[in-house]
Symmetry: C2
Subunit: 553 residues, 2 copies
């Protein structure tokens, strides 16, 4: 493999640890805080986690390390979608573990949680780890989406761990993976397995966030990468002055990514799914909202602009959600065959018209044909509509175009509307981690080992005070059960970590709300440029606007 | 407008000049070289450019500046698509001009060549220029695609220049714009207008290149931006191990962008349009070529990969070109209405079957329906197929899928083939220029002023030896007529700068050819990461692999 100059250079980067972890493993001691309670449904959560519930929050500080120096064998798993910095969690964990005791071992399970079940693994060495320091991707051991959630899986996991003499597992994942980490921790505790489980908060979506976890790793780098591209496109739009760019960004359930990109780049329009749901907006209302900006900018002589569309927004539109439900029912079971055998799109269209409620058909009718066909022609193995395949950037530009044509007919709009479409997602998940993510992730991994050494189980590695320089960061751990509540999932009550949606009363959204009317009609574009790893600290080490605003900065 | 930390920081960057231009305008003298001849059709070109043909090549060197120090008023125009570094050409020009004489003035014509004809302009000031130093985009004065080519336009241009006392025009553009610059220069010379014209070689496509012009500006930054994204996607592919990514990159007529990105990132597949044309490849042959890689990788357990598709490749496939021709004829004039009135796609399909030759219908039949419909439903104002709207990345993935299904039926292929599609173009045209482009463009602009001061007309600003550090670059000028030949355009013989296609015997393609068999079946991905502006020189100041290979490095 040929290495790029940047990759060679990034190998040399020394990630910054929180001040309190800088004196070496032997100089780190524990300060215990208060016993914790889950954020809701305390009794239920307590009964489900009798052995791991109610533990104390802890922080580390400088002092004599009085933990046992017994040999530790630790397993690590990457779970779910890639996020920049995963390799640094592993290298931080490895470095702490080796500096505590050269005999310690780190085992990486391959291809995600299934690697643990199938006992596919590698044993890390200096040479191997050094190839992955400060690089993007999860290719160090691969990742996967298998969920560890059944008693059967737990039993196998225990056997595999025992066979390797593993005394702790670190699970690097999102809200679901960390929920499962807590359940596994409880299982091990209940069975007196003497195996600890530590979680690390990962996701570019930014929706694993709460009063304890200031942000999940990867969000910083991914949003900076998307913002680089959006800023470049804004500059192009402002130079060519003839296109509207509709840009879809990743974020199925929460709009943190879209919001952060908007704060970084100040586009004319950014939809926020949570607001669409809160205001129960219809497709037509959203299209009118965008068309108002296009119209007013045209009046001012600017037939160009940029609109950011979060990937999952259509699922937050109540009438669209209902349409999807009706389509799923309309094509359930054998009815799908009947539909598929209709020879032409016209025949199919009539079948649809007959099958949908009047209200849903109205919604359907107004969709561009491309999206109508996507709804019916591409369905998942259960026959359901694949909402993630809907090109919502094209859907909205088509709806906006219809609105503008109506206005033009009435003499209300005289502009031109040429649109280009983009989708940014895969471009950002495996970028070289920003200095922030490189530092944060390395610290999370290093810290995870400290939690292991001190014998904690069912904890999330926690590094906070993140809007400050790394020196001032605070390292510690939080029982995962503290973040849990009971939610209805697939018809069952389940203890889960609450997913953090965009808070419409939070400071990041409020800032956006205060400014967006101006952004919509003026050209207030900001051009962040590419992520920088060297050079002035104000260019290289800043984290997100979201975090800065949340911290009141 | 809110400025990003990078933008503020880039304002401070001092672009590097060639060593010979570093001693101040008063210490630059001219060394004249040989008289030049056009690359072909010498007699014809000479007769068309009696006043500007055959002039000498010149280089600058350190020495006493003996040019007249009369007040200079210079106009500048940005022409055509955006390319990173345009702002630096303007600021280099401005700085040289002001350092020669504070009374000198730089006038920017707005919105491209039409600004000159319509006399829309601004006069540059320090304060204004300083907002654009080392930034991307052409928003400093805007750009446009109007062509300056008629005698009528030249006459107006002359009047406008006279009204401002402009004694020189700098045209920043691609091959067509520089061809037109030469024609305008000849017009001014023939009329004794005392107005000089100097061109600067711009285009991200990299196809304005010849023995004199080592590369056009913007190519470096644009390909680095695309390579960043392709590398990130490769890393994602190698982490998730479940997707093939088909990535279309800009480049309508030449595949320099695709080739450079391939050299930077080592993907499994990269199509080169020039090779497709040379080998007269059919769509089916191309699909088989890609399918071979997918198949062999699947055999090795790797159901993932990355393929780069140059935007214009389908136009280089002989059978596809013929199909387009036939479709254009099939729908010419009133026949389009007849076609449009057919009620269903089936009816239209039958019309097409009847209208095409057997061979072309065979090609048509094998296309995915999406592309079939794109060919017929979206046509330009003249009724022609809009080839640029064809989603060739989707076309090829669909054809490859068909090939794989055939192989599967025969038991020859057992893999999975899930594809994601991307198109990178607008993301790179307005990025902050790389150090290379920032330096090169500033030098081109600075140098353009030197050519003006020494009274040259119809020259291209030339900076060469670009694969070496800037200190060793060579600055000078070349008569544009030297790069010209006669080509048939729209049924007429025209003197034009020869467009540089990828040379299949050149070193960059040869390097690619030598390695691609391995890249196709192994995973040799390289991850360039984001463009860096600070830090080690080997990370920040390198130009493209194409240039390095061409220069034998």
């Amino acid at each position: 493999m040929k290495l790029s100059p940047l990759q060679i250079s990034r190998y040399q980067y020394n990630p910054k640890l929180p001040g309190m972890l800088r004196h070496g493993v032997s100089e780190i001691c524990v300060k215990e805080g208060e016993a914790t309670q889950s954020v809701a449904d305390q009794e239920k959560i307590k009964s489900l986690f009798p052995n791991t519930y109610g533990k104390k929050e802890i922080t580390f500080q400088k002092g004599h390390n009085n933990a046992s120096s017994k040999k530790q064998i630790v397993g690590v798993i990457l779970s779910g979608g890639q996020a920049p910095g995963g390799h640094n969690v592993v290298s931080g964990l490895y470095d702490a573990l080796k500096s505590a005791n050269k005999e310690n071992e780190l085992i990486g399970f391959l291809g995600g949680p299934s690697g643990l079940i199938e006992d596919k693994y590698i044993v890390f060495t200096d040479e191997y780890i050094d190839q992955y320091r400060n690089t993007g991707g999860f290719d160090i051991i691969g990742s996967g989406r298998t969920k560890l959630e059944t008693q059967e899986q737990f039993k196998i996991a225990e056997q595999v761990c025992k066979s390797h003499n593993i005394n702790a597992i670190v699970i690097i994942g999102g809200d679901d993976s960390n929920t499962n980490a807590a359940v596994l921790a409880e299982y091990f505790a209940a069975n007196n397995s003497n195996i600890q489980v530590i979680g690390c908060p990962k996701t570019i979506d930014g929706d694993l966030k709460n009063e304890d976890i200031e942000c999940s790793f990867g969000f910083d780098t991914a949003t900076k990468t998307y913002s680089e591209l959006i800023g470049n496109i804004e500059r192009d739009a402002n130079s060519a002055k003839k296109y509207w760019h509709f840009i879809k960004v990743m974020g199925r359930s929460a709009s943190h990514v879209a919001l952060e990109c908007a704060l970084e780049t100040q586009p004319n329009i950014c939809l926020i799914s949570e607001e669409v749901a809160e205001k129960k907006m219809s497709l037509s209302e959203i299209a009118d909202y965008i068309a108002d900006s296009v119209n007013e900018r045209a009046n001012r002589g600017m037939n160009f602009g940029v609109a950011i569309i979060p990937e999952g927004v259509v699922e937050f539109v109540p009438e669209f959600k209902k349409l999807i439900q009706e389509i799923n029912e309309l094509l359930a079971g054998s009815k799908a065959n009947e539909f598929n055998e209709l020879p032409t799109w016209n025949d199919k269209y009539q079948f649809i018209e007959k099958g949908l409620s009047e209200q849903s058909f109205k919604v359907f009718e107004a969709l561009p044909q491309l999206v109508q066909q996507q709804l019916f022609l591409e369905r998942d193995p259960h026959g359901n509509v694949q909402v993630s395949l809907i090109e919502s950037e094209k859907l909205f530009s088509a709806l906006v175009k219809d609105k503008l044509m109506e206005r033009k007919a009435k003499g209300l709009y005289k502009g031109k509307f040429s649109v280009l479409h983009h989708f940014f997602g895969y471009e950002g998940r495996c970028a070289f981690p920003s200095n922030f993510d490189a530092d944060y992730c390395y610290s999370l991994g290093y810290n995870a080992f400290m939690l292991i050494q001190y014998g904690y189980n069912g904890y999330l590695s926690k590094v906070s005070n993140l809007s400050k320089p790394a020196e001032e960061w605070v390292a510690g751990g939080m029982p995962i059960t503290k973040m849990m509540n009971i939610e209805r999932r697939h018809g069952e009550d389940k203890p889960v970590i609450r997913k953090a949606l965009v808070d419409l009363n939070g400071k990041p959204f409020k800032y956006f709300e205060e400014h967006r009317q101006i952004w919509a009609v003026e050209t207030s574009f900001t051009f962040p440029g590419a992520i920088q790893y060297y050079g002035p600290s104000e260019v290289c080490d800043l984290t997100t606007r979201t975090l800065a605003l949340e911290k009141g900065e």
